[in-house]
Symmetry: C2
Subunit: 328 residues, 2 copies
DNA sequence: TTGAAAGCGTTACCAA
DNA sequence: TTGGTAACGCTTTCAA
């Protein structure tokens, strides 16, 4: 196989014209069965594969989705990694490919996005790590570039947020479930360790904790705040306990914080983290696990509907339920 | 910008022919300066970008490299992630893109690779996680598909290994340095916790430990073996100590093992891991850090030489020195 | 149901 | 140095 076979080669072997080969490939129902068979066996013997670039040039579709590969962020880096993995798999099943790019910051990301769009390199984007004041959704929507967010459009106006396509995991429900479970197990003084406000995900998770406490008639529990850093978390919790804070269990906004809390409180005080990272698993810390495979599938559903190409203007959203992984 | 501009549009605006625009883009030195200026300003005003697929169809180069995104493997998952990140950045700087694919196992990986090659989707591959009996290098070499290994061609015949292109980090040097440093600090009974043989990287790392001990005239130290799992490691070390093994420091083949050793020995016995994962950082465990950015750059150097396209048959190799990150 | 012809946007070749 | 012409491999009209 010095030179890859083309439609013309297949057509010659099958004794039909090029277009018939193309039809056999793309609209098999329109070709007579025995012709179809001849074409298919010709494809088989020649080891023919359509030339991706040629097809893309003709169809004006790249069948490719752009995804920014973000810098690894500490312990939770594996989360986006797992999402990406699931995304690649589901995309493959739908005939789509994932093209990576990196960027220093959001402005740089928009520059890259612009280049990819203008070079017709991608049909759309999956945007991760949404945040308050995120300029990307607006930028893309203004230019009619299809996209879907993994993460809610925090801080967007209500009308805009309503039509923006996004997939997210319901952190509030996750922490609500974790807290409720601890309450059932008899714990009464359940503290929360989270990030400073405003933080989309962080505030959601705090609300989940509050929901469960309110439902149990136990408001006003200990609430601590610090940056997402193990030593900082250890220090905050240690100081709070020294100052007389009463907790017999702690739910946290992340595994990083949970790890700090565990160091401060020892193994006898139940701690629940978020993201179910390998660290939580290794240290036997309970954690809220995001259904990342489902999230990836949902993102593609929103972006592509039931078809095999990206919708011109995706819309709608999906909020997925996480599950709590309990460890001794 | 309803319809993206093409070379023809640029040519019309600049008052030249299509070909001159193409030349201005790809071989500017062959175009007269003032013509070049006219073309460039036309490109500017039109916001023209070459259509990637059209160019690829014509040049028969995809300017794309295929990389398998592997399942996240516990604590060390971040390593390939960081390598991938660096690879995307360096590739971008060289006008190359990274296309991801996933696979269940090596056979499935070869199937994917075949598909990508036959569809002219990629110009070559960067293969990670090489292992004894790896069929991929042979498969690709047999078909003249360019590739480079991140990891040595373990277990390949000497002649074949000699011409195979690979980049790797010298784990042996890393553990030698770590062990030597501990020896200088006065530790004399330095144990090693590693993986079962044969393991390319694992055996290398063990040799590094042995090198340093032999140089210091202190052979026959405690050597332990277990699978790459935290609890297994904890158990193995705990049992060894209970059985009378004498160690006042331990170097390990991975951060996972180091974590287990830390649990078994407590914070007063120095433990050195490998890969400098976020976990090691969070727990204050010293670790050998791989220069992943350099590895990615070296991989592309091997694959592309100094040019902007993949070499037909890359060859040569590069062994990089890791550094030890010491923590209190 | 099948075939002929056109064209997607680009670059390579050759002549001017 | 510049421009005309011809592909690259594919799909999409439109006729037969």
């Amino acid at each position: 196989m010095s030179q890859p076979a083309t439609v013309a080669d297949v057509a010659a072997v099958a004794g039909v014209s090029r277009q018939t080969v193309s039809n056999a490939l793309n609209r098999p129902e329109v070709v007579r069965p025995d012709t179809l068979d001849r074409v298919r066996s010709a494809i088989e013997t020649l080891g023919y594969r359509p030339h991706a670039s040629a097809r893309r040039l003709r169809t004006r579709q790249s069948s490719t989705l752009g995804v920014r590969l973000e810098p690894v962020h500490g312990i939770s880096g594996a989360v986006l990694d797992r999402f990406l993995h699931a995304l690649v798999e589901h995309a493959d099943a739908r005939g789509m490919r994932i093209l990576l790019f990196t960027a220093r910051d959001v402005d740089d990301e928009l520059t890259h996005i612009e280049r990819l769009v203008e070079g017709s390199d991608v049909d759309g984007f999956v945007l991760t790590s949404t945040f308050h004041g995120d300029p990307r959704p607006g930028w893309l929507a203004d230019r009619d570039v299809p996209f879907v967010l993994f993460g809610r459009p925090w801080g967007q106006s209500a009308e805009r947020a309503e039509v923006l396509p996004w997939v997210d995991v319901d952190g509030r429900a996750g922490l609500r479930a974790a807290t409720a479970h601890l309450l059932e197990a008899g714990y009464r003084r359940i503290g929360f360790l989270g990030w400073p406000s405003p933080s989309g995900q962080g505030d959601e998770r705090r609300h989940g904790w509050q929901d469960a406490l309110a439902a149990a008639g136990l408001p006003d529990q200990v609430q601590l705040v610090c940056e997402d850093d193990v030593s900082a978390a250890t220090e905050v919790v240690t100081r709070a306990v020294a100052d007389g804070a009463a907790v017999d269990a702690v739910v946290c906004a992340s595994d990083t914080l949970a790890l700090g809390a565990r160091f401060a409180l020892g193994p006898d005080v139940p701690v629940v983290g978020y993201d179910d990272t390998p660290v939580a698993e290794a240290l036997g810390i309970s954690s809220v696990e995001q259904p990342l495979g489902d999230a990836a599938a949902a993102a593609l559903d929103l972006l592509m509907g039931t078809g095999r190409s990206v919708l011109p203007a995706p819309t709608g959203h999906r909020l997925l339920e996480p599950t709590v992984v309990w460890r001794p």
